[in-house]
């Protein structure tokens, strides 16, 4: 299957007062057409940085891309002309669902104003060329009408009641879940090939989370849109992902189809992570040791100081990718070959 998005050996540094933090260290991952991929990892492991690097919206100034490539439909987004990426890819072929639906809308404009402002530039019917530089670019009436129809239809699809009235309201008149539905609608409206969703449900109640996740999955499957979904919640990943990639301290550890990921994880870190999910009646188990500093990271596999299987070769170099089964790859010298639960 030709990949839609393929990140290869991407390394990103943050220059801080304390030194250079290697936030992403040679990370690779693939997203196929129509595939929902979960990017799982603890807070601070680089999930958001990776999502932002793909979108080309890393904070300017303190970030440096040390190497690697982000291939989207064959073109390397890191080396393309930034204007062309903005015009054709960002907000169009790749859209974004932010983490926090509360600060994502401007409080002073109606939802309609904000959605139509997006459609003016990024609607599938909008022409290319000329980013939102001029404040006075025309918005032809026929296109506006067609865009508005598409907006109403999409609002219905994300289950916003009374879309025509809803459009006239201000963002604060919606609940958090509804605002996230609006965000999903806005991510779908440009008819993208890929949606990057950065922990889209962390700010919501657990009951709402499940609703939103199921809705998102249904909508993208209907439309054949791929999703790269970052989350620290394994349950969330299980709920909606076709495939899961696990990250630790800026390196990818394992990538597997969702079933295999939860049933037969091969990487010691993945197993530890799954085992640390609290279950009713079960004891709480954490992973011994601390998340490493990214300014002076451990050499080789970054998990080795906390890994019970670590040997000298883990320190020497990063384990090469190893394919265990179709679609199941791991970067570990000592993959575990046992169903989950078998090692204790």
């Amino acid at each position: 299957m030709p990949e839609l998005l393929s990140v290869r050996g991407l390394s990103v540094d943050f220059v801080t007062d304390g030194g250079v933090a290697q936030v992403l260290d040679g990370i690779s991952l693939d997203v196929g057409p129509g595939e929902v991929v979960g990017l799982v990892g603890e807070s601070g492991c680089g999930k958001t940085t990776l999502a932002r690097a793909i979108l080309g919206i890393l904070p300017t100034g303190a970030t440096r891309i040390r190497g690697g490539e982000v291939r989207f439909k064959g073109a390397d987004l890191l080396r393309e002309d930034p204007g062309a990426v903005n015009d054709r890819v960002r907000g169009r072929a790749i859209t974004f669902i932010p983490q926090d639906p509360y600060t994502s809308f401007s409080p002073v404009f109606s939802v309609q104003t904000q959605i139509m402002d997006l459609m003016k530039w990024k609607s599938p019917r909008a022409g290319h060329g000329g980013a939102a530089r001029s404040s006075f670019r025309r918005y032809p009436r026929e296109r506006r009408r067609a865009d508005r129809d598409a907006v109403l239809e999409t609002l219905r699809a994300v289950q916003i009641p009374e879309p025509t009235r809803a459009l006239r309201r201000l963002p604060h008149e919606f609940s958090g879940g509804q605002r996230q539905r609006l965000m999903i609608a806005m991510a779908l409206l440009p008819q993208p090939d890929l949606i990057i969703a950065d922990e889209p449900t962390t700010a919501l109640d657990v009951t709402i989370q499940a609703q939103i996740l199921r809705l998102l999955r249904t909508l993208v499957k209907e439309r054949g849109v791929s999703v790269l979904f970052t989350t620290h919640d394994l349950g969330t990943a299980h709920e909606i992902c076709d495939r899961v990639v696990v990250m630790y301290a800026g390196q990818e550890m394992e990538a597997a189809p969702a079933d295999a990921f939860f049933a037969r994880p091969a990487h010691p870190y993945t197993r530890r992570l799954l085992a640390s999910v609290p279950s009713p009646g079960g004891e709480i188990r954490d992973i011994p040791g601390d998340v490493p500093s990214l300014i002076a990271p451990p050499p080789g596999c970054r998990f080795h100081p906390r890994c019970e299987y670590a040997t000298a070769e883990c320190r020497e170099g990063r384990p090469p990718p190893r394919v265990l089964a179709p679609g199941h790859g791991v970067r570990c010298h000592h993959p575990v070959d046992a169903p989950m639960g078998a090692d204790g």
């Binding site: 204007g83 903005n86 015009d87 994502s104 002073v108 990024k122 201000l170």
Partner: protein, 280 residues
């Protein structure tokens, strides 16, 4: 109008409306409109009566009539000084807030220097140096008040930059000009308006202080602060002489402050409509 439900804000609005009416209709409302410039030594220091509602001053002029014409000067000073402060302070705050770098630092340090010196002291220094006249008072007040706007706008702009909607607008390729004018400015309009309303009161008070110290427009201009200064030597016998302009200043400043507080509530977009809905 929700402002009407806020009693103290409504009271402030009424006070300001009275001030504006007094200023606009001064020639009509005044019982002795010529007394602004004419002297009647024979009638000096008369107590309030049917002829002179608020008595007469040391020149024999009608205090009530002079008070009405003084309202014109008060409004003129307030509007122009606050307007000029807005024109200077808001762009300075926006630029310093939007860009990160030495230029922003320079702009904010300059405004810090202005804020470090008490406004009255700085305004006195400027007015004294330039000489007492109406334009110089306005200049002194504008020069000392703009940093307040710059500070407010700067802080709000910086805070807004963290918001996802501003970041995503930038990511879509909006120019700095478009971003600040169309997306940041509407979001910070309410603190600016509130600051302007309170600033009117503040500026009028400072103008009266300058007038009191003899740094305001020269006589026979019926400026309120100067009138109070003139009345001092006749206290406590000619109590009406100082009371009338004193009360006028007090009510004007209170009016603008109450209105500013009321506006703060009304303009909060998070309270818009939802408040109306709960009242309906």
């Amino acid at each position: 109008m929700r402002l009407a439900r806020d009693r103290s804000a409504l009271f402030g609005l009424v006070l300001i409306a009275l001030l504006v009416v007094a200023a606009l209709l001064a020639p009509v409302l005044a019982t002795h409109p010529d007394d602004v410039f004419e002297l009647h030594p024979a009638e000096r220091l008369r107590a309030p009566s049917a002829v002179h509602w608020l008595g007469t001053d040391r020149m024999g002029a009608d205090v009530y009539s002079r008070l009405l014409f003084g309202a014109r000067i008060t409004i003129l000073i307030g509007v122009i000084a606050v307007g000029a402060s807005l024109i200077v302070g808001v762009p300075v705050g926006l630029v310093a807030g939007y860009y990160h770098g030495w230029f922003s630092d320079v702009l904010m340090r300059v405004s810090d220097v202005f804020l470090a010196v008490p406004q009255v002291v700085l305004a006195i220094a400027i007015a004294q140096t330039l000489g007492p006249s109406l334009p110089n008072v306005i200049l002194a007040l504008s020069a000392t008040y703009w940093p307040w706007f710059a500070r407010v706008v700067y802080a709000e702009t910086r805070a807004l930059q963290q918001e996802v909607f501003v970041e995503s607008t930038a990511a879509l390729g909006a120019s700095p000009w478009r971003l600040t004018a169309l997306h940041v400015l509407p979001n910070i309009a309410s603190p600016i308006i509130v600051r302007a309303s309170i600033g009117m009161g503040f500026t009028i008070l400072t103008a009266a202080a300058l007038g009191f110290l003899g740094l305001g427009p020269p006589p026979p201009t019926p400026e309120w602060g100067r009138t109070i200064a003139e009345s001092r030597e006749f206290l406590p016998d000619a109590w009406w002489y100082a009371t009338a302009p004193g009360l006028a200043i007090f009510l004007t400043v209170m009016g603008f402050n109450l209105l500013g507080d009321g506006l703060r509530d009304v303009l909060d977009p998070r309270l818009r409509r939802s408040r109306a809905a709960s009242d309906a």
